[in-house]
Symmetry: C2
Subunit: 595 residues, 2 copies
């Protein structure tokens, strides 16, 4: 525990008393509801000392709790010790939800407060409804943390950089035109953008304000008459400012967005995504405007990659494949030599090899390098406390990726460090059947991801096995490695798969205490054919990296799966070998040989 | 055209003028929104002369239109000739929807009328919203047809009969207790039931008021204090009335439901399914009540068959299998002898053979007997005009079923009447792969039908083929052959598949102008196993009838599909042969021999 946590909680309670709030919620989100917030917005960590990536703190006059999920039960228990903040383990049957907790602790007429900048309009509405059932009020207008966090970090002022037109394929002016056309088609006049990746895509800009996502902190407003980028002036070089102005973009200070929105003319039809816009900004829309809720055109257009972006992805996976090949060669040598390599060592080496590749910006997420039983922890990230040395036995699961200026990657491979058991091979082959079955399917235009999800799971379900994460998420073009709106998962999502979308394909099997297996490739949706029964689509596998055939039981593969694997390996060798030296080539030749 | 149609339309327009309605909609539904209405409610047919099973008539001061789908384009064109009613072909790009039409024809402030007894509350709400966009009003309180249809048939007064406890498995009193428990669990006080099958299931009654569905016209209200069945007294024998009273049921006249609902005490929490309750009844709920919309517990409980009902289904499919075997033997003999058999002859023979079976009540829908190109018309029903003689060539698709007091059946088989072409065999085998793939899958508890739908389509999609109907619908226990709430189809439906549900499995390929192929079995959802990854379910194929192996290309089947087919045929023979004579046995032995 950080020793000053109780003082901070006390200070917050004093602020609550002054504002007549009976409970206060701290989410640790930023005003853009980003997956990774900048330090300024790490308020959950500041108030509780808990450093995990997910959790919510709730403070009342006499209780304080942190809600987090099973990934963080151990870490949170340690970090909250003696802090006076109780751990609420989400997902356990006896753990109350936050609304349940608040309804039990407060009585009708009392008020729950939160900083509306850190809560989506959709979630605030749902929380408000839940509290209203007991007559409890919700006030989203107080950022109490700001008053007591005296050395709070500033809003990031890192320079933004341009995504050049050679790599984006479409100039800003054209994107704005397309967005305005789409707004017009829906009967909307204007659009508010708060999601950083949607803004980055629209304005062809990138940044380094947060970890793993090459985005910059800003807001945007788009209409036929005016498109405004709200950004700290210090983040702009003269060049970029000039370029944006030439493309028809007005520039305004980051802090001006609320005032600007508050002055929208009466009867404006404002398109806004309540799930991606903080409630404070959402509530700034004047009452006389017509709010139209829905996915933003930027979100939808961003998900369908153009030819230039696809070309970039094809370059990125070659670079990534070269780095991965070199990494697995290095790892094999280390193991042969009996050198000590830990999970963290391996992850760092892989990052270093990626960083040697042209246009590398950063990793696209924290590498999951899970050896043996650690592989069964789906969101495992090695810490100095858990870091384990690899031994010449068992399985190693590495899920990793990079941001290159021309594309983003996300790949998982599982390899055997020694002689695998029969069960390991069976499980590996089941997972591989899933990866292949999804990769090689053909489906009518208009199909949703939830309809295809079973293809990745069927070989598992047949044996009474399942995995509880999604099978596929969208991947941005030098943007968030997890993006929407499409997905391939058991849960329904009405978004259909469209040609140009890039989506992951990542089934897995996790045997608690033993090992985890996941084989993940990136899939590009493409047109396949048009028949008397309609238009059909298919996937093209983008990712280029060998699959450990020592773990494959060939008779378990169908004829077509077997053929796919050999053909895939041929492609991996053909595309990567021109960039490898003779020794590397020979190694890869062996790993990708026909089986 | 019926010669008096223009007079009827004129009379309606006069009634519209009197009530100051500027347009009037006639759906032809009954107050229970049944798939098959009794004659009294065939108002669409009365006003237009159109006898198809789906369509909506809209009359304005100077226009009259019938909207119907592609199944009925030809029939409607003939039946509407010289009627003054124009045909609007639904699904064609240039056809306006009914709300579009009304918005184009009427101006703000004008009023559209309809009989709220023939329109669901959910659809009325949606239509009202659509019309409101142009300031057009919707008035659902006028049954204008009643005033002008002077010889309108009475409400059916057929006697109801009991579904005995030996076949229902659960007495009425227990069903009412379970429903009240479910209401209590959801925080509701009472339930309004308008769907005839939900009422029939709840009160263990059956009837013959409409075609194909063994239900009786009635309403019901259920609460802890009182359960009331609203039914015409003439429909009740003394015995049944006594029995229902003993089970705690109050009886009231059918016409009293509105008055009863209108007197519900203030603050009553009323559960009602807006999609299955007519808007007139829905609007009778007093303003002071809390309306909770959702599936009724009766609908959900009805879909999960108990052990007794399942046993009944298993009896019903044996009887059905015997009738089908005898039918296909008869048909083969007729063809061999060169006798003339038309589609209608075949359908009638099949009904007659089913009627010989114990506890047969009626067919469960109009048999689809589609020879050659007729098989490609998905909802084909032979009429004297289309009836075709079968020839010793091409394919014959027969989709049929029966209501037995112990269970309902629905089965499709496609057979070759002569030497099939290679394409017929390929298509047949693709469809069969789909039927089998769904039938033999295993899936986690909590899976929805839309997740499994692809299993029935994958072999088709792989070749750029698709069918546009659902793969599976729920099947009632001596009730509607099409029931919910579950389904297996491309469209999302949040209802999960539960052990005890009976659902059809019916992929198909339709080559317009050539032939249609469909192979349909009924599947019972069952528990499979519980592993460290959770509970798994599977299907058990109920239907017992040979599949024409002359149409199967064995090498196109996977090893497991091939094994399934041989095992299925063994089961068909084992279960049916004890009820067949020696000649029939020998015939079935040959049809079900291992391939």
């Amino acid at each position: 525990m950080k020793t000053n946590i109780p003082e901070r909680v006390s200070a917050l309670r004093e602020a609550m008393r002054q504002q007549q709030l009976d409970a206060y919620i701290i989410t640790g989100s930023d005003p853009h509801l980003s997956e990774y917030p900048a330090d300024r917005w790490k308020s959950r960590e500041w108030i509780s000392g808990f450093t995990g990536s997910a959790g919510t703190v709730v403070i009342t006059a006499d209780k304080a709790g942190l809600w987090t999920d099973s990934r963080y039960f151990l870490q949170a228990a340690v970090q909250l010790e003696n802090s006076g903040i109780e751990l609420y383990k989400q997902g356990l049957p006896d753990t109350p939800s936050i609304p349940d907790f608040l309804r039990a602790e407060l009585h009708a007429g009392q008020t729950v407060g939160l900083d509306g900048q850190t809560y989506s309009a959709a979630e605030a509405r749902s929380l408000g409804n839940e509290l209203e059932r007991k007559g409890i009020l919700l006030d989203t207008t107080h950022d109490l943390i700001d008053g007591i966090w005296t050395d709070r970090p500033a809003i990031p002022e890192n320079l933004i950089f341009e995504m050049p037109e050679e790599l984006s394929g479409v100039p800003v002016r054209e994107k704005l035109d397309r967005i305005n056309n789409s707004l017009h088609g829906q009967g909307a006049d204007c659009l508010i953008l708060a999601a950083l990746d949607e803004i980055a895509w629209t304005f062809n800009i990138r940044g380094t304000d947060v970890a793993y996502n090459p985005v910059a902190v800003c807001f945007a407003f788009i209409s036929e008459n005016e498109s405004v980028l709200f950004i700290q002036p210090k983040k702009l070089t003269l060049d970029i400012a000039e370029h944006l102005k030439k493309e028809g973009v007005s520039l305004a200070d980051y802090s001006m967005i609320h005032k600007y929105i508050a002055k929208l003319p009466e009867n404006s039809k404002v398109l806004v995504d309540a799930r991606k816009t903080n409630v404070s900004l959402f509530d700034a829309i004047p009452k006389g405007c017509v709010i139209m809720e829905g996915l933003s055109p930027a979100n939808q257009m961003k998900s369908v990659k153009n030819e230039t972006e696809i070309e970039g992805f094809r370059n990125a996976v070659v670079k990534d494949g070269v780095a991965l090949t070199r990494f697995y060669i290095w790892l094999e040598r280390q193991m042969e030599e009996g050198a000590t390599v830990t999970e963290i060592d391996a992850a760092q080496k892989l990052s270093a090899l990626r960083a040697e590749q042209p246009l590398y910006i950063m990793d696209s997420f924290a590498t999951i390098c899970g050896y043996a039983a650690h592989g069964a922890i789906v969101h495992y990230s090695a810490t100095p406390e858990t870091d384990t040395a690899l031994r010449p036995e068992g399985l190693l699961l590495i899920d990793s990726g990079a941001q290159y200026l021309d594309g983003t990657t996300d790949i998982t491979r599982t390899i055997a460090l020694g002689e695998p058991t029969e069960q390991m091979k069976k499980d590996f082959t089941r997972v591989l059947k899933g990866t292949i079955s999804l990769a090689k399917c053909k489906f009518p235009a208009g199909t949703r991801g939830s309809q295809l999800d079973i293809l990745a799971r069927k070989a598992l379900w047949d044996c009474g096995i399942n995995y509880l994460h999604g099978t596929g998420h969208g991947i941005g073009h030098c943007l968030n490695v997890h993006e929407g709106p499409q997905s391939i998962r058991m849960e329904e999502n009405p978004v259909t798969l469209k040609p140009g979308m890039v989506t992951s394909d990542e089934p897995g099997i996790y045997r608690a205490g033993e090992y985890g297996i996941r084989t993940e490739n990136m899939l590009l949706t493409q047109e396949d054919s048009e028949t008397e029964f309609g238009k059909f689509l298919r996937f093209d596998t983008l990712t280029l990296c060998y699959i450990d055939t020592r773990l494959v039981i060939v008779p378990m593969l169908s004829v077509r799966e077997h053929a796919w694997l050999n053909k895939y390996h041929q492609m991996v060798y053909d595309k990567l070998s021109p960039l490898l030296n003779e020794e590397e080539k020979a190694w890869l030749k062996e790993k990708t040989r026909e089986i």
